[in-house]
């Protein structure tokens, strides 16, 4: 009987906690003292001092050199711990789907082919339980991206602790996203154990369609009084370079075709997404000054003949060839697995990249690619204090245990639906054993 009461009580309690409460306080001022700072640009500062004023990093230096500290805020003693810039998940669908199998919670694919006017941000669920589960791993920002169609829509960059989408915004309508036509189309049934693909006879046609859309959209911008076309209108900033173009393409030929497309339309802000075989065309990518969001590190190589660790080392191969590269993780269970972004970077370290370079793949590099590096992506003076403190090496599961996290200088909660359930049942068993 007693147990029953406990259960009822706990149930009541559980109804009362829904999502974590986002930080209400505005940007604060504080000092992180004594931690090892992983700046995000390759630098490491042991025993560091990071001073934040009104949400902005005003000082980052060695604590050995800087004995005096201004005392405008709280001082956190984080000796023995590590500080990192907040991790950024580009090309993400966080907040667009809550439960995969429940269609009602799915807002990721819109009908149609050319959808630059479809804006992800308005469907972004700032209160998603999946979103809140990112923060305890240090993933603090994301580029929310729709998926369906040839031009899937327009993404926005958000920070992951907000009351609503408007408050979450970091950069609104930052880019359009293109699924480059497939050279191969599935043949036979999708459930065949070996999925077969035949060459896509419509490839050329589909590329032409895309080119025509771009040509018309470009012409539309120059017309004096054009009849309203929402899709074309949404393309305006693409041609000025204010909106980036992200293109999903994997094979060398597709990437080269995409680069030719970039050249034809003079698209200055152009990013390849996926790029499973981008390491075969690094010269061309570099020459065109095109960055790559490398395909999910934890995925199996496409071909049986590929190196078993090709997906693990792809970012390293691109980085070493001088291509600006960041990580992405689209695919099966992408949303819930986004909390593993730090470990994707860690996996690349196992392939021989240095830890600090690997950190860049999920902090400064994505910030650069998303065009937010003036404010985010590294622990540098003048940037916003979007950062976290981990007990150990955050790129390794063994060390990634967060004690503190800040977004724009606001201290955020590290609790989640998961930590609450954990505590609830831990307590249940503790109480039971006490009896």
């Amino acid at each position: 009987m007693k147990n029953l009461y406990t259960t009822i009580l706990i149930l009541l309690v559980s109804f009362s906690f829904a999502q974590q409460k986002p930080a209400t306080a505005g940007p604060t001022s504080f000092i992180l003292l004594g931690g090892t700072a992983h700046v995000g640009n390759g630098e490491v500062i042991e025993n560091s001092l990071i001073q934040v004023e009104n949400g902005i990093i005003t000082k980052i230096t060695s604590a050995n050199e800087e004995q005096e500290t201004s005392t405008s805020g709280q001082v956190y003693d984080i000796r023995g711990q590590h500080v990192y810039p907040g991790i950024i998940a580009p090309n993400s669908t966080l907040g667009l789907v809550e439960v995969d199998a429940v269609r009602a919670t799915d807002d990721v694919n819109e009908i149609g082919s050319f959808l630059p006017h479809i804006r992800s941000i308005i469907a972004y669920d700032a209160e998603s339980r999946i979103v809140e589960s990112m923060r305890p791993s240090g993933v603090l920002m994301a580029q929310i991206t729709p998926r369906g169609g040839r031009i899937t829509g327009t993404s926005s960059v958000v920070q992951l602790d907000a009351w609503n989408w408007e408050d979450a915004l970091v950069k609104e309508d930052d880019a359009i996203h293109i699924n480059w036509p497939d050279r191969f189309v599935k043949k036979g049934a999708w459930y065949d154990p070996k999925v077969g693909y035949k060459q896509n006879e419509k490839y050329k046609e589909q590329v032409q369609e895309l080119e025509e859309f771009f040509a018309q959209a470009k012409a539309y911008q120059q017309a004096d009084e054009p009849k309203l076309n929402l899709a074309y209108q949404a393309m305006g900033e693409v041609f000025t370079g204010d909106k980036a173009v992200f293109v999903s393409a994997d094979s060398p030929k597709d990437i080269l075709d995409a680069l030719e497309f970039k050249r034809r339309f003079n698209l200055s802000n152009f990013v390849i997404v996926g790029g499973r075989y981008a390491h075969q065309v690094t010269k061309e990518l570099k020459a065109a000054n095109v960055a790559v969001l490398a395909n999910r590190v934890h995925s199996t190589p496409e071909a049986d003949d590929d190196d078993y660790d090709l997906s693990y080392k792809l970012p390293k191969l691109l980085h070493e060839a001088g291509v600006l590269v960041a990580l992405e993780n689209s695919g099966q269970m992408e949303r819930m697995n986004s909390r593993n972004f730090p470990f994707y970077a860690g996996q690349v370290v196992a392939e021989g990249l240095s830890k600090e370079e690997a950190l860049q793949l999920i902090t400064l590099n994505p910030a650069k690619i998303l065009g937010i590096d003036h404010q985010y992506g590294s622990l540098e003076e003048g940037k916003l204090a979007t950062l976290f403190v981990s007990a150990g090496d955050a790129l390794d599961m063994q060390g990634n245990r967060l004690s503190l996290a800040f977004i724009d200088g606001r201290k955020i909660s590290l609790e989640s639906h998961h930590t609450q359930l954990y505590k609830k049942y831990k307590e249940k068993y503790e109480e039971e054993s006490e009896e």
């Binding site: 070996k194 693909y197 003949d305 996996q347 196992a350 990634n400």
Partner: protein
């Protein structure tokens, strides 16, 4: 030869009558007996080993009366001089659906029960089907086959798992239908495919079909013993058919091996029809079979001219392209009697071409002929009547211009039971030459030549070339000459009856002006060689060149693909791994600077400064040695995962469908995995039995299965079994409430069965046997489960029947009922951090493993995924982040704990003396994200090491380049190529269904675990 042709007309006339029989006639006269025919002066290949040069063959009443040298024509016989042409027995096709009416596909019908009444409970078992009831002679098809040299086919309705009997028919509608049908019931056929005539959903997978074949045989035995109270027309038919040869369409080497497993159990012999890839496991196939039927559909080379596209062709495909044409040779050399079938040959005219290819690749001509004639005849027990030329055999023969397999050889005639069919008219080489053509006032020089048995004509008038067309049919030569100038086109058409090639022929010309004149053509001496013969000279040259160029032949590896092993059975080595940090997963904990001595596949000794003279030393200084990772839940290396055709499929087993050619096995080794449980999927509450396998890359399916494997079965609860996310709403159960009742029902039935069994008089039921094993705790359950209510339910059901649920797998809400699980005695195998993919996992938390561990459960972390299996060490390490358990406890989550759950912890799961040498060497602590497996050993065999892998990568590149060059050569030779296709492995998960079930389901949900 021209004379011969003329003679045919006469001969055919004499054939119209019929000998004595009981059919009423309406021909006016009955006395129409045929005369004997003597074929003389022929090179007769009576069978593969008997050749009679200049022999004769006497035929009467559709049979061979006599064969030999210098036969005397009996009085009244017609004699045909074959002028040195060749005679062979006509071919025998043993797997065909010739002249079978097409089956009606069921569009309606029951989904879970059979539609037929009075027959077996499963509609896909159709032994009562008799070819003769579905037969409607098809002359067009017959003609095609005759043209290729076939005389008889054994045809059947190719529909169902058990397909009923085939019949042997002549490829000629003979005057007496009874002669067309040579034997009405010759063999019983089987296949790994469902009947189109029923919608009954079971079986929906290969393993379901295997189980069904087994149960059908058990039921037949029981029925034969007189135990059944009612009549089953299917079983009755089957009992009758069992005296016939049993032929099974396997279609690939794995199914060939699977058919052997079924046949072995019931002590009968299948004759399998392979897929052409049997070379991949020749030693196993040789052990199981003496005979095999092989297809001749060899793949075309891929068009690899575009180097980027070539990337999409896998080494496996290239190797297969190279070895498939050699498959007949390999099997023949291994001692199997091979027969050929045309089945699968899209372009029938390729038959001879592909046969020649097989011969070119080393198949002896003798065997090739046997495979077309004697061997298929032997399969049908008709070797004295068909496929051979001897006294008393049917007069089924082909007459050819030369040796059968020579490129230039043509089939002139195909005689079927004495009925003569002209296939190709002999070429008119006699007609070739230069003539002076004269008509009216015109004089034209013409030149007749032949190329590939077709006449060609060149004509010049006053040194002006004319347009020409020429044809020769049934002794009539017709040709046309066209004169074109700027203003008009003038056509003159010529026709002449030419029965022999003299120096002159004449006929009529129909001029462009509409007049008819006689013409004559007089032979004049040929001048210089013409262009064509130069062409053919060139052709010959290029052919010679081809033959001198040596072909690169890729080695057959196990599996025959990238990273394959040189042999399927690796010998274990003796190794001394020195100075390693051992993470033992045992009470010994972590041992620094220790040596491990591996001998005879076992861990022989563990210690410091060990000395082993014979052992190869592996210096592991600075490295970590662990036991191999064990994955409690995986669906890699399987040809199918779910038998979802009914809500219980306990009779199926994953051991039937292991696929050793899955690259996931190699990649798992590269991630330190050495053992895994291949679980049935989660489509139904009671799934199929498991296969617990070692990652012995390259071994045969049977050898991958762990020795004395504990018995397991998959159960499943929740959304998948109630088909929440796909499918219709017909199958019971649709709720968790129904799921409980399914279990109560099945276990109660199993108890009843047990009583019946004890009485001694019972029908062996494989499904019930398996369920009884569970109740008697001889078989363990691994149950796919998510929410606490259902977990609790299954434990209560088990307790009711007095057994324990061994493992809850996935068990994402296990943390909510860990105390109850502990009390029950269940273990848990879970994901580290997956959640939110279905409604039932919205409360899944990454702290699950820790909370359950803290309650004293045996907990493992599993993959259920072909990607995650490669890095289970990392998944275990997540328990640091979520719950903070010790390193040693965390490492046990993927080693000794799953070994305990699988009841193999006495053999594997830790580094202890006497255990299997399943070891992994890591460059960092394996719980670190930075750790990479350096070497993975299974039972003392190093299947993976970074050095070996590096070497193989280079070899793969080299081999690819060599094979691409071979494909380019093939293309340059003018051989047909096929466009490149891309192939991608689909990772199988719990809910991956075989094709049938998904016909109606949407793609929307692709992977839900």
């Amino acid at each position: 030869m021209l004379k011969n042709t003329l003679f045919v007309c006469f001969l055919l006339l004499t054939f119209i009558g019929i000998s004595q029989d009981y059919f009423p006639e309406n021909h006016g006269i009955k006395a129409t007996a045929k005369t004997p025919i003597l074929l003389t002066n022929a090179n007769i290949q009576a069978d593969a080993s008997t050749f009679i040069e200049g022999g004769s063959l006497l035929i009467h009443e559709g049979k061979i009366l006599e064969i030999g040298k210098n036969l005397q024509a009996p009085k009244g016989a017609v004699e045909i001089d074959l002028n040195g042409q060749y005679i062979y027995p006509s071919f025998v096709e043993v797997y065909s659906d010739f002249a079978m009416e097409s089956v009606k596909s069921a569009t309606t019908g029951k989904q879970y029960e059979a539609n037929r009444k009075g027959y077996y409970w499963n509609d896909h078992i159709r032994p009562e089907q008799e070819a003769k009831n579905h037969f409607e002679f098809n002359e067009a098809e017959a003609k095609k086959l005759r043209k290729l040299g076939y005389g008889v086919v054994n045809t059947h309705l190719q529909d169902g798992v058990v397909r009923g009997t085939g019949m042997l028919v002549a490829l000629q509608e003979l005057d007496n239908k009874n002669k067309t049908i040579i034997a009405p019931k010759t063999a019983q056929y089987y296949g790994f495919s469902r009947s189109k005539q029923s919608k009954q959903s079971y079986p929906s997978s290969i393993m379901g079909m295997m189980a069904l074949m087994r149960q059908f045989n058990y039921d037949t035995q029981w029925y034969a013993d007189g135990n059944a109270s009612e009549t089953d027309l299917a079983i009755e038919a089957h009992l009758e058919n069992l005296s016939l040869p049993q032929i099974i369409y396997a279609g690939n080497y794995l199914n060939v091996m699977r058919s052997a497993d079924v046949a072995e159990l019931f002590e009968f012999d299948f004759i399998p029809i392979g897929g052409g890839d049997e070379y991949k496991r020749i030693s196993e196939i040789k052990k199981a079979f003496n005979q095999i039927i092989l297809p001749l559909n060899f793949p075309d080379a891929y068009d690899v001219e575009d180097p980027y596209m070539a990337n999409y062709v896998s080494l496996a495909e290239m190797k297969d392209w190279q070895h498939k044409p050699r498959n007949p040779k390999y099997l023949a050399e291994a001692g199997l009697e091979i027969s050929f079938t045309m089945q699968g040959l899209k372009d029938a005219s390729k038959l001879m071409k592909n046969l020649r290819t097989a011969i070119e690749k080393g198949l002896s001509k003798e065997v090739a002929l046997q495979a077309l004639t004697e061997n298929p005849a032997k399969i049908l027990g008709m070797e004295n009547q068909i496929g051979v030329l001897k006294e008393g055999a049917l007069a089924n023969l082909i007459i050819t211009s030369g040796e059968l397999f020579d490129k230039e050889t043509k089939i002139y005639e195909n005689w079927i039971q004495g009925h003569r069919n002209i296939i190709n008219e002999a070429p008119f080489s006699e007609l070739e030459g230069n003539y002076e053509l004269a008509f009216d006032k015109e004089k034209i020089e013409i030149e007749i030549s032949s190329k590939k048995d077709k006449l060609q004509l060149k004509a010049t008038k006053d040194s002006l070339k004319l347009g020409t067309k020429i044809d020769f049919k049934s002794n009539w030569l017709s040709f046309m000459l066209t004169e074109t100038d700027s203003s008009s086109t003038q056509m003159n058409r010529f026709a002449a009856l030419v029965t022999s090639a003299e120096n002159e022929f004449s006929g009529k010309v129909f001029t462009h002006e509409g007049e008819i004149h006689p013409f004559s053509a007089k032979r004049v001496s040929a001048e210089d060689k013409d262009d064509d013969s130069e062409d053919s000279q060139e052709e010959k040259d290029s052919e010679d060149k081809e033959n001198t160029e040596e072909e690169y032949l890729s080695p057959i590896t196990y599996p025959n693909m990238a990273y394959g092993m040189p042999s399927p059975n690796q010998k274990s080595g003796e190794y001394l791994i020195t100075n390693a940090t051992l993470i033992t997963s045992s009470d010994a904990g972590t041992l620094e600077n220790h040596d491990v001595w591996v001998k005879n596949g076992k861990i022989y000794k563990i210690g410091e400064n060990l000395k082993a003279k014979k052992a190869e030393v592996i210096d592991a200084s600075g490295q970590f040695l662990t036991a191999g990772i064990i994955d409690e839940h995986s669906h890699i290396a399987a040809s199918s995962v779910n038998e979802g055709g009914s809500n219980s499929s306990a009779e199926t087993t994953m051991e039937d469908v292991i696929n050793p050619d899955d690259i996931s096995v190699y990649r798992s080794l590269a991630g330190g995995v050495t053992t895994t449980q291949l679980l049935h999927g989660s489509a139904n509450p009671i799934g199929g039995r498991s296969a617990i396998i070692k990652m012995k890359w390259g071994a045969s399916p049977r050898n991958m299965i762990i020795e004395d494997s504990p018995k397991f079965i998959k159960f499943a609860l929740g959304e998948n079994v109630k088909q929440s996310n796909w499918g219709g709403r017909e199958r019971f159960p649709q709720t968790r409430m129904g799921v409980e009742q399914v279990y109560l029902d099945y276990f109660s039935r199993a108890k009843e069965y047990e009583k019946q069994k004890a009485s001694g008089k019972y029908r062996y039921d494989e499904e019930m046997e398996v369920l009884l094993e569970i109740i008697n705790e001889e078989r363990f359950i691994s149950c796919h489960s998510y929410v606490q209510s259902e977990i609790n339910m299954l434990m209560k059901v088990a307790e009711q029947f007095d057994f324990k649920v061994n493992t809850f797998t996935h068990i994402l809400e296990g943390y909510k009922v860990a105390d109850k699980m502990k009390k029950h005695g269940a273990g848990a195998s879970t994901f580290s951090d997956w959640w939110a993919y279905k409604n039932e996992v919205k409360d899944a938390i990454p702290y699950n493993a820790t909370l359950m561990l803290n309650q004293g459960l045996t907990v493992a972390i599993n993959s259920d995924d072909g990607e995650m299996i490669r890095r289970l060490n990392q998944e275990a390490a997540k328990s640091f982040k979520y719950g903070g358990i010790s390193a040693e406890e965390a490492w046990k989550l993927v080693t000794i704990n799953p070994a305990k759950l699988l009841h193999i912890d006495d053999q594997v799961g830790s580094i202890e003396e006497g255990k299997h040498a399943d070891l992994v060497l890591w460059n960092h602590h394996p719980l670190s994200i930075y750790a990479k497996a350096q070497m993975t050993m299974v039972e003392g065999v190093i299947y993976f090491s970074v050095e070996k892998d590096e070497k193989q990568r280079n070899e793969i590149q080299k081999e690819r380049n060599l094979l691409i060059a071979e494909m380019m050569k093939a293309k340059n030779k003018g051989m047909k190529t096929q466009p490149v296709v891309k192939k991608k492995e689909r990772h199988m998960h719990c809910d991956t269904l075989d094709d049938f079930l998904f016909e109606n389901f949407s793609e929307a949900h692709s992977h839900q675990h």
